[in-house]
Assembly symmetry: C2
Homo-oligomer: 311 residues x 2
Amino acid sequence: MAARLLDGTRIAADIRAELTSRVENCTQQAQRPPTLGILLVGDNPASQVYVNTKSRVGDALGVNVDVVRLPATITLDAAQDVVHRFNCSAAHDGILVQSPLPSSLGPIAEQRLFEVIDPAKDVDGFHPTNVGRLAQGRALFAPCTPSAILELLDRSCINLEGRRAVVIGRSQIVGKPVALMLLHRHATVTVCHSRTRDLPALARDADILVAALGRPAFVTPEFVKPGATVIDVGINRLVDSSIVRALLPVGSPRLETFARRGSLLIGDVHPAVAETAGALTPVPGGVGPMTVAMLMVNTVRAAEKRLEAAV
Amino acid sequence: MAARLLDGTRIAADIRAELTSRVENCTQQAQRPPTLGILLVGDNPASQVYVNTKSRVGDALGVNVDVVRLPATITLDAAQDVVHRFNCSAAHDGILVQSPLPSSLGPIAEQRLFEVIDPAKDVDGFHPTNVGRLAQGRALFAPCTPSAILELLDRSCINLEGRRAVVIGRSQIVGKPVALMLLHRHATVTVCHSRTRDLPALARDADILVAALGRPAFVTPEFVKPGATVIDVGINRLVDSSIVRALLPVGSPRLETFARRGSLLIGDVHPAVAETAGALTPVPGGVGPMTVAMLMVNTVRAAEKRLEAAV
């Protein structure tokens, strides 16, 4: 039996629809739309796509997305100046520094930039103070992908309390924060990673399995307890036809997509898991659109808080 | 076969001995000893004992412990004034607000006080920024009890990489930070709590089991895989002789201690676990003395950092 698909595209549309009146209220009160400042450094193609998506979604919603693009050759100081400008700007409610930054800026450039963002405008939730507040269960802004996962689970009526959750991956951006958020929602949470022994057996304990490790089709059916909910956070673009053909069954419509486009997006979860899982997020159309929707939620919340503070 | 006892009293003495020359260097450079300011509000007997222990250990080490005692009747503002005074004082390197605070100060008094501590003097590591840095794996000051646990494991040559660690308890002070620290040391970490189902079976998966839930003798042998390392964070004072007699075997020398004193300290781990575990921290004499030693390590580190910054 095939898993129920957790339709991130549809739920993200619901969230955006619910935001509309809040955006209108903010715009009316502030005499300008809620505004998100994005700093995009360099020309990473995936980052360009993500930033364009954020702009497009913002536009459709009435949220102003102000993208400052800098070449990869700039200094960290110049990038910090842009963040400072956003911090001081009365017209910017939220700030996002698109990662990854070019390696030319040094290994800790992201951390350095996240640290200078005003925590009250930090809609990505990566400032240490916001990371700490999240760990304390009282986030100002929870990071967008973990929030997206929780929202997707909640709106799909998947109960968390007392359930076993296994998170594969321990990144700052997804693995660790989603583990903390699941814990605060009373799941029993295990975090696995590259050093974990007998990972498939451990993953099979999960009622809710979150795959956030960035390796295409890594989570095969042997990782999945029949009926479990599987959240696929990976977005991997495959271009090798022999790999794609090995992953998909003969006759899959996704093979036609691959033939037409020359590439295919595959998650961290193997397509065959759809036969084992009880519920599954598709890639694309699962966590991805939800993440952008949660960025808009955080931006509108930042705008509302500034208006409240101004009263 | 009885478990190897992980002797926190002895290891804490080693740590203090290693600190001596650093304390002397700081004292010589600063022309005053490293100084820890403690705010103690109210007359909670356990808090009095803890603060006295910290003072005594500091004295013996040459660390100045400056305790400001306020009655439970004061306001939160007055308590914050003390913290501000410590923040601005050139003579105080570290600051600690003893918890728990009297309930008369309100439910979020601790959080409010922790938030006004200068993060650079926050030797307990409870300021949101320090909590965030810990979650990011780059703590300025890791909280003392989790640090004590890691130090005890390291100095007992217990390998963590790839091992299964189960933490029972998800407090801000112990459970969550020790889980993150074990994760950063490449253990596969599960956090359990009151809503966890089939806790004994889950705990039995652990190579390293941390009991930090605050319920006397809760962790019985059925929770423990033979040969596992068990870290007992609980300190529960029992006064009921029928309970004490039920926990200890006839002829146990601890029954004499109880008869003499009228009370007995019992951890969160049942005494019978000593027959199942491979290694075990005693209570008292395990995590407790290590925690105070780690407070001194953090205080000396704070003093050293201030001296470096002053050069």
